[in-house]
């Protein structure tokens, strides 16, 4: 009996091990453009592979010569959905996609990836990675992707997913400028208000005090419409929210140009 139990446990472990490895059938890096040298590819593949096994979370980099769908988001989502990426029954993972000709990038997340790499997490990734993309340093970009992904996965593993708000430089400068200028303006207007009490001898241009009570009569009143103008401004879109891919699955993600 004891022998039977031991055999069953060993069999179960073997089956589980097969299941785990079966979830990571795809390579971590599919660099169709050839951004990485063979050596770099090998090094970073090993790094990403280690991370995905450590956290049971698929982490992938894919580059294409040009968009395989009509935009980077759809391309990244389709590659993720139709090529068996993702770990476990929830297909947890993240895919970093680059379309070389269009100079577009996109991070597609799925399953627990949508929580671990939430809006702020993706903004953090973009802030760290996009500068390297702009410089054409794809090795550093993918390496930084691995570093940041590991950092965020570790935080999630400890029960505290990264959720620090990320702001654009423009927003930060706006807040700082407001914090510097608004107090000065407030103080200036309050001082002007007080100064008005120091000089009360000012002309009175109106004669409302001398209007005969009830003397105002309106004999004629007409409002004629002349014309209209309509201005439209594009909404600032945050594409890091949830969306549905062509396969019908709900992805998270964020992307842009570099």
């Amino acid at each position: 009996m004891k022998r039977f139990v031991t055999i069953m446990i060993a069999l179960l472990c073997f089956v589980s091990a097969i299941t785990v490895y079966a979830d990571f059938i795809n390579p971590t890096i599919t660099d169709s453009v050839g951004y990485l040298t063979e050596e770099q590819n090998k090094e970073l593949s090993a790094r990403l592979d280690k991370i995905r096994k450590q956290y049971n979370f698929d982490i992938v980099f894919v580059s294409e010569d040009r968009l395989s769908a009509y935009d980077a988001q759809t391309s990244a989502d389709d590659i993720y959905d139709y090529n068996g990426y993702g770990y476990g029954e929830n297909y947890d993972g993240i895919l970093f996609y680059i379309a070389d000709a269009e100079r577009k990038y996109h991070f597609s997340t799925y399953g627990s990836g949508m929580t671990i790499f939430n809006e702020n997490g993706l903004a953090y990734l973009e802030k760290k990675i996009v500068p390297s993309l702009k410089e054409g340093d794809y090795y550093t970009a993918v390496k930084t992707y691995a570093d940041c992904a590991q950092e965020l996965l570790e935080m999630a593993a400890q029960g505290k997913p990264f959720n620090k708000r990320q702001h654009s430089t423009q927003y930060i400068l706006g807040v700082i400028a407001g914090a510097i200028l608004l107090p000065l303006l407030l103080a200036y207007f309050m001082m002007k208000k007080k100064l008005a009490k120091m000089k009360t001898a000012v002309k009175e241009d109106n004669a409302a005090n001398y209007m005969k009570p009830g003397s105002m009569t309106l004999d004629f009143s007409r409002d004629i419409f002349l014309y209209s103008t309509v201005t439209k401004t594009e909404k600032v879109k945050s594409n890091s929210g949830s969306h549905t891919s062509s396969s019908g699955r709900s992805h998270g993600g964020s992307g842009g140009s570099f």
Binding site: V175, M198, A201, N206, R222, F225
Partner: protein, 359 residues
């Protein structure tokens, strides 16, 4: 024979061209409904035109019989003010410049006022009103409280022209109404432009205009309003114990200021009938009236000159209502200290808000 109607663009004044069932402006690109343009032409032609302010001529009056016997004329050699007072008035100072060397002379008996509002606030009450106002002046130098030298507070009947009119008004306003909405991709702002026509009538009574060159117009308008229901027929006896200036700005010279105030108030009161618009700007105003009345009145004002650091600071107190106006010296250190205090508190608040906005 039919004539060709040429419509001008209400926005830029360029000629409009009939195009696709509407009138198009090549200059600014706007389109206008033909019916709207017809209405604007019809109504606008009635509303346009020059304003006509028709005031009756004012004929100066002289003192009658022995009415001026108890009065004397006083001249200030420093500022040239000519003041009327009672004949028994002892040493006095000029209410306008504070000079004490006022010279007594012969009363001429000309320029008799029609009405007078007698003083209701006595000297003690006027001084108390000034002290109250003075305590609330925020940036007053501390030394001013100690070193100020208050000259005599003098009760002066200041000459004013009083204007009455019942005017017809035709006013055109440009107005805008703004609506906003959005869809999944864009925010939209629609601005509808209108032309508003208003006409009607409104009456004014006793609009005062300062008739003395020596009395600063800003002070005399700031010390308003006066309650004219307290006015009585002029009698020289009311001058006893007070000084009275006589006008040296004629009624004709004061009309322009009266017209300005009538126009401003009329535009303002008719604007109240244009609710529901985001912006209403007057484009044309036609005011017309005839037989506008002008009267010469003396209104009560306490004048106070304070000498401090080689400067004279002037104050006026309404002798009927006790309202105080003037100009105080400013302690710049106090002013900037206040600025720094407010800015400091605001910076702390701004730092806290910025922290929450950035984290």
């Amino acid at each position: 024979m039919d004539t060709v109607q040429n419509y001008k663009c209400p926005c830029c004044g360029a000629s409009l061209v009939f195009q696709n069932e509407s009138l198009h402006c090549d200059s600014c690109g706007n389109n206008f409904e033909l019916d709207a343009m017809r209405q604007i032409e019809d109504v606008g032609s009635q509303m346009q035109g020059e304003s006509k302010y028709d005031w009756e001529h004012y004929e100066p009056r002289s003192y009658e019989g022995g009415e001026g016997a108890a009065l004397a004329s006083y001249t200030c050699p420093s500022c040239g003010a000519e003041i009327t007072g009672d004949d028994t008035m002892g040493s006095t100072v000029c209410p306008y410049c504070g000079d004490a060397a006022v010279i007594k002379g012969q009363f001429e008996g000309t320029l008799r006022p029609d009405y007078i509002i007698p003083f209701k606030t006595d000297k003690k009450a006027a001084m108390a009103a000034f002290e109250d106002d003075f305590k609330n002046a925020p940036f007053l130098p501390d030394e001013f409280k100690i070193k100020k030298k208050i000259e005599e507070m003098t009760g002066v009947y200041v000459p004013f022209w009083m204007f009455d009119c019942d005017c017809n008004a035709a006013i055109t306003y440009g107005a805008q109404r703004v609506t906003s909405w959005s869809d999944s991709n864009y925010n939209y702002t629609k601005t509808d432009y209108y032309r508003l026509f208003r006409s009607g009538s409104v009456g004014f009574t006793n609009i005062p205009v300062d008739g003395s060159k020596k009395a600063d117009d800003a002070y005399m308008e700031a010390v308003e309003p006066f309650r004219y229901e307290d006015a009585v027929e002029f009698n020289g006896a009311y001058l006893s114990g007070y000084m009275a200036d006589k006008y040296d700005v004629s009624a004709e010279e004061s009309i322009e200021r009266a017209n300005e105030r009538v126009t401003n108030s009329t535009v303002s009161v008719f604007r109240e009938t244009t609710d529901g618009y985001a912006a209403v700007i007057p484009e044309s105003t036609k005011i017309s009236f005839s037989g506008g009345k002008i009267r010469y009145s003396l209104l009560p004002v306490w004048m106070l000159n304070i000498k401090y650091m080689n400067n004279t600071y002037k104050f006026a107190v309404n002798g009927q209502t006790g309202k105080v106006v003037g100009e105080y010296p400013i302690d710049n250190r106090k002013k900037w200290r206040y600025f720094a205090k407010i800015a400091g508190v605001a910076y702390i608040a701004a730092a806290v808000i910025a922290y929450f906005l950035l984290h």
